[in-house]
Symmetry: C2
Subunit: 266 residues, 2 copies
């Protein structure tokens, strides 16, 4: 089993090291990860600037992986098309410092990298660990749980491009209840901006650090995680809202215009 | 009708100006857009740096909108929560210089901004114009078509948070055939990297400019656009792959670990 490991917290992140240690029990792991933190990078990619790539070694000069001055999704593209000596069997992203549940799935660089892996028809798994209210997160413990879930997913022989999102609850908050397979919550989070004025009189805003979803939909990733379940959500990257498609295909489009060559379809 | 207009090409982009002119026929339009080009920003947002906001005026000192030094999705958040004097009835993003079809929907800052509008329970529409092989795109013509489609969507009273993706074909290539409502293509695009070495001996890569999808799925946005149809795709931001959910809920998770307090659910 050959595994590409990336993340959005950057190649020096402790969550990446912890997950690397656990994944190494499943097979050969190579790291291609952002040189710097890329939280909330979503599925952004770099098209108008070059992607610098450098080998990273630890103080004992052991090879740690390749650092890319780009986005998480750039790392997956470059790894598969240019850097890795082999085509991976699996793409893993994480373990992220902070959960990626609900609509945060859309903002997540961790998930963005996994979706990119799915574009290459590889099974791809995003792993995130909920942050404790204070103190450092238990990355080794979270990575051990995430790797158990990954191992279980692998025993089911995932199809090419099958995509999964794993969230591990804050392990300091209490014991894990088990595993729940749940859909993504779509309710909104609390959000506010702190307005300030710079020394030159210009207005700027910081987004607040709140991370609460006051009214989550029941039986979703957000609620199950809050109840101390490990959550697993199968994801897709086809954003089509199929329920609306058929209805809209019946619509008549009144776009009379001399650029149209014929009657519009009804 | 109050419309928030944003984009990912930046507040000075000609596509934004052209779409502003057309949308003004539907109601009051205010612009909050990135200060700089943000192509391929996806749904990234800015959480670790401040968002500077400045008013932009044209040479005759007419107010043009607010420029945000951030991502397209940041613009929508800030516009609705801080900047606009009213809550918009509609969020429009575009018109983008280049189509946003197939898996490029995931990379698109134009679409990312529209999804952010849907998070606020507003009808939200992304508009993109395919680029000609050479010469400038016809932004006024593309914006006129996009606005006709928007007008038609509005006559159907879209639900809160309903999300649409409109692509207008390259108008220089031939006459428009009409409108097709189609799903997002999920096939891969051609992609390659140009490897170079900087004057200090460091390796870097440029992603190539190819933009062809050699094997698109039939009856999708990519194929219909190539056949000179305007495409409309209803989108969603729930990434759950529901078909897999039920199957996976039957899986047994063998995660025996002393952190688990009880038998795992089956």
């Amino acid at each position: 089993m050959r595994i590409l490991l990336t993340n959005d917290d950057g190649i020096y992140a402790p969550g990446l090291r912890a997950l690397h240690a656990e994944l190494s029990k499943l097979g050969e792991v190579l790291v291609v990860a952002p040189a710097t933190e890329q939280s909330a990078a979503g599925h952004s990619v770099t098209i108008y600037s070059p992607l610098l790539v450098q080998e990273v070694r630890d103080p004992a000069k052991n090879f740690q992986g390749w650092a890319v001055e780009g986005r998480p999704a750039d790392c997956v593209k470059l790894a598969i098309r240019q850097i890795l000596p082999w085509k991976p069997d699996l793409v893993v992203s994480g373990i992220n410092a902070g959960s990626n549940a609900g609509i945060n799935v859309l903002y997540s660089g961790t998930v963005g990298a996994a979706i990119e892996g799915a574009f290459f028809h590889l099974p791809s798994i995003a792993c995130s660990l909920e942050m404790p209210a204070s103190g450092p997160p238990d990355f080794p413990g979270g990575s051990a749980f995430a790797t158990k879930i990954i191992r279980e997913i692998l025993t089911k022989n995932p199809s090419p491009g099958e995509l999964f999102n794993i969230n591990i609850p804050d392990l300091s908050r209490g014991q894990i209840k088990g595993v729940r397979v749940v859909p993504q919550n779509t309710a909104s989070y609390v959000e506010w901006f702190d307005k300030r004025v710079d020394p030159r009189g210009r207005v700027y805003y910081w987004i607040g650090p709140d991370f609460t979803c006051p009214d989550p939909h029941p039986d979703t990733d957000v609620t199950a995680l809050a109840e101390q379940w490990i959550t697993v959500t199968p994801l897709q990257f086809n954003l089509t809202r199929f329920q609306a498609l058929q209805i809209m295909q019946e619509w008549k489009w009144d776009l009379t215009d001399d650029r149209f060559t014929k009657e519009l379809p009804t």
